[in-house]
C-alpha cells in the first residue's frame, strides 16, 4: 500500500462522490460480487461439497501434491531470488542489465508457452535433454519434477521484485562496517543483510506461495493431468466443472480462493508496519 506522504486533504466538489461511487461499483461487479458467489455456491448444500472433496482420495492427493509442489517451488525461488538480488544490487558484471530485464520475462510469458518450452527441452520422447535424462532414470515431463519446474518458472520474479528495492534502499554501509570489523561473508549476510531485507523476503515468499498454489496453464501442459498422480488442485477445478460436478469444482475453487485472499490480506496487514 502506498502511504500518502502528506496529510490527505479530501478532494472538493461533487466529483469526489461520482468517482468514489464509480470505482466502488466497478470493483463490486468485477471482483467482489463474483468472488462472493463462489463462496456461496461452494456452500450451497451446506458442507456437503467441502465434505465431498475431503473424502475423495484423488482430490486429497491433488491438494497434497499442490501444497508440496508450491512449497518446493517457494524454497527454490526464495534461495535463487535472494541470491540473484544480492548479485544484481551489490555487484557489477557484464550483461547485468540484460539479466535484470530477462528475469522479468516469466511474468509476461503465457503459461501455455512456459509449458511448451519445458516440453521441448525436457520431453521424454524428443526433447533436447529429455531422452538423455530419462535413460538416466529421471523423468521430468508428466511427472512431479516437471510440475515443480513449471511452477518455479511462473513465480520466479516475485521474490526478486520485492527484495531488490529493499536492498537498494538499505545501502551497504552497515555491511561494509561489519566486514571491516572482521565478520565473514556468511556472518555479514545472516546478521546484517538478512534482518534488513526480512520483510521484503516475507512479501516475496507470500506472493510466490499464492502464485505457486494457483498455477494452472503451465502445469496442465507438463503434468499429463493423471488422476491421483499428477493432477493438481487447479486441474481438479477444471475437470470437475467440465464433468458436471460443479459442487466439487466450486468447493475446490473456494479453498484455493481462500488461500489466495488470505495471502493478500497477510501482506496488506504486515506491510504498513514496515516504513517503506
Amino acid at each position: 500500500m502506498a502511504e500518502p506522504s502528506t496529510v490527505v486533504r479530501p478532494a472538493r466538489g461533487p466529483g469526489r462522490y461520482v468517482t468514489r461511487v464509480l470505482v466502488v461499483a466497478y470493483l463490486f461487479f468485477l471482483v467482489a460480487w463474483p468472488l462472493f458467489l463462489v463462496g456461496k455456491n461452494a456452500f450451497a448444500d451446506g458442507f456437503e461439497n467441502i465434505r465431498g472433496i475431503v473424502e475423495d482420495p484423488d482430490i486429497v492427493h491433488a491438494l497434497e501434491l499442490t501444497v508440496t509442489v508450491a512449497l518446493i517451488a517457494v524454497v527454490i525461488n526464495t534461495v535463487f531470488g535472494v541470491g540473484i538480488s544480492l548479485l544484481l544490487v551489490r555487484y557489477r558484471f557484464p550483461g547485468q542489465r540484460l539479466l535484470s530485464a530477462l528475469l522479468d520475462m516469466p511474468l509476461s510469458v503465457s503459461p501455455i508457452v512456459v509449458g511448451l518450452a519445458l516440453v521441448l527441452v525436457y520431453g521424454g520422447r524428443n526433447g533436447w535433454f529429455g531422452p538423455a535424462l530419462e535413460s538416466a532414470g529421471f523423468q521430468v515431463i508428466f511427472a512431479t519434477p516437471g510440475i515443480v519446474m513449471a511452477t518455479v518458472f511462473v513465480a520466479l520474479p516475485l521474490v526478486i521484485r520485492e527484495v531488490v528495492p529493499v536492498l537498494e534502499e538499505v545501502g551497504d554501509e552497515q555491511e561494509q562496517a561489519a566486514r571491516s570489523l572482521g565478520a565473514n561473508a556468511v556472518q555479514t549476510f545472516l546478521r546484517i543483510t538478512l534482518p534488513a531485507i526480512k520483510w521484503g523476503v516475507v512479501y516475496g515468499v507470500v506472493l510466490s506461495l499464492a502464485r505457486s498454489l494457483g498455477e494452472f496453464g503451465a502445469v496442465k501442459v507438463v503434468s499429463g493431468n493423471v488422476l491421483g498422480e499428477t493432477r493438481t488442485a487447479t486441474l481438479v477445478v477444471e475437470e470437475n466443472y467440465l464433468n458436471f460436478d460443479k459442487g466439487g469444482a466450486y468447493a475446490t475453487a473456494f479453498l484455493l480462493a481462500l488461500v489466495a485472499v488470505a495471502c493478500i490480506v497477510v501482506v496488506s496487514v504486515i506491510r504498513p508496519k514496515d516504513n517503506r
Binding site: 500500500m1 502506498a2 500518502p4 506522504s5 502528506t6 478532494a11 468517482t19 468514489r20 470505482v23 466502488v24 468485477l30 471482483v31 463474483p34 468472488l35 463462489v38 455456491n41 541470491g83 544480492l86 544490487v89 555487484y91 557489477r92 542489465r97 535484470s100 530485464a101 520475462m105 511474468l107 509476461s108 510469458v109 503465457s110 503459461p111 501455455i112 511448451l116 518450452a117 516440453v119 521441448l120 527441452v121 518455479v152 520466479l156 521484485r161 545501502g171 551497504d172 521484503g200 512479501y203 506472493l207 502464485r211 494457483g214 494452472f216 496453464g217 496442465k220 501442459v221 487447479t234 477445478v237 477444471e238 484455493l256 489466495a260 485472499v261 495471502c263 493478500i264 490480506v265 496488506s268
Partner: protein, 281 residues
C-alpha cells in the same frame, strides 16, 4: 500493496557506496550457479521454442501462424487485450486516484480487492466470473461462450497493473503545484491535464504495457468462461495448447514465438519508459 511486485522499479544503475562491486570468487561462483539454473529453467526452454519454430523454415512458420483459425485467434487476443488496456488506462488511473486522494470507510477492503486478481488462480478467476456472468447468473446476463467473456476475463486478470503502477507515483506528487495552478486560475480539468497527467504518464504507460502483455498471454481464466469456439472465442494460448495436444509441436512453437515476440516488445518498451523516468527523476 504489491506496488513493488508490479512496478518494474529496478533502476539500471543502483545506488552504491565505497566498494567497487567487482565480483569476488564466492560471488562469481554464486552468479555462475544462478545463471546455470536460470538457463536450464528459462533461457534454454524459451530458446527451444524459437528454434523449433524456425526449424522448418520461414515458409512453414508463416503457414503455421496464418492459418485462418490461428490468425483469427491472434487477432481476437491482440484486439481484446488492446481494448482492455484502454479501459484499464482510464479505470486504473481513476481507481488509483480514489485510493490516494479520497478517504472513506472501506478503503482498505478496496485495496485488497485490487490484488485479488493477481493472487487468485486463473482457473478460479474463470469460475468466479462464470458464477456472476454465466448461465446461472443472478443478474440474468449470460455472456459465457461469447467474445464479451474474453473481454471480461482479460479485464479481471489485468485489473491490478495500472492501479499499482500509478498509485505510488500519485501518492508522491507534490500537491503544492496543483494548489499553485488552481490559485492562478486553472480549472480542475486544466490542472489535471497540464499538471497531474504529465507526471503520471510514464507510470500509466508502464502499467498499460504490463496489462497488455498479461492480457495477450492469458489462458486459465478463459477455459471455463469463453468456450474456446474456433474462429469466435478461441484465444492464442488455446490455439497453442490444441497444437500441443495434437502433437504438432512445430506449429505450437510458431504461434508461441509470436506471443514471445509480443512480450519481448513489451519488456523493451518498459525498459525504455523506465530509463526516461530515471533520467528525469
Amino acid at each position: 500493496m504489491t506496488s513493488a511486485t508490479l512496478v518494474p522499479d529496478r533502476p539500471a544503475v543502483s545506488r552504491r557506496s565505497g566498494r567497487d562491486g567487482r565480483l569476488t570468487r564466492a560471488s562469481g561462483l554464486g552468479l555462475g550457479i544462478a545463471m546455470l539454473w536460470f538457463s536450464l529453467l528459462v533461457l534454454i526452454p524459451l530458446a527451444a521454442v524459437v528454434v523449433t519454430a524456425v526449424d522448418g523454415g520461414w515458409a512453414a512458420f508463416w503457414d503455421a501462424v496464418t492459418t485462418p483459425q490461428t490468425a483469427a485467434a491472434i487477432r481476437l487476443t491482440v484486439g481484446t487485450a488492446f481494448l482492455v488496456t484502454l479501459v484499464n488506462i482510464v479505470m486504473g488511473t481513476l481507481i488509483a486516484w480514489v485510493l490516494v486522494r479520497d478517504q472513506f470507510f472501506g478503503k482498505r477492503a478496496l485495496e485488497v480487492l485490487i490484488d485479488v486478481p493477481f493472487a487468485l488462480p486463473t482457473i478460479v478467476a474463470g469460475l468466479v466470473l462464470l458464477s456472476l456472468y454465466g448461465p446461472d447468473s443472478p443478474l440474468g446476463v449470460d455472456i459465457a461462450n461469447t467474445r464479451v467473456a474474453v473481454f471480461l476475463a482479460f479485464l479481471f486478470v489485468t485489473l491490478p497493473f495500472v492501479v499499482r503502477t500509478v498509485q505510488p507515483v500519485l501518492a508522491e506528487l507534490d500537491r503544492e503545484v496543483e494548489d499553485a495552478a488552481a490559485s492562478l486560475g486553472a480549472s480542475r480539468f486544466t490542472t489535471f491535464r497540464r499538471i497531474i497527467l504529465p507526471s503520471l504518464a510514464p507510470a500509466i504507460a508502464a502499467g498499460a504495457a504490463l496489462s497488455f502483455a498479461r492480457g495477450v498471454s492469458e489462458y486459465g481464466s478463459l477455459v471455463l468462461l469463453s468456450g474456446n469456439l474456433p474462429m469466435r472465442t478461441e484465444v492464442t494460448s488455446v490455439r497453442i495448447l490444441s497444437s500441443i495436444e495434437n502433437d504438432n509441436l512445430p506449429a505450437a512453437a510458431a504461434v508461441a514465438t509470436v506471443l514471445l515476440a509480443i512480450s519481448f516488445v513489451v519488456i523493451v518498451a518498459l525498459d525504455v519508459i523506465q530509463r526516461r523516468v530515471v533520467r528525469r527523476g
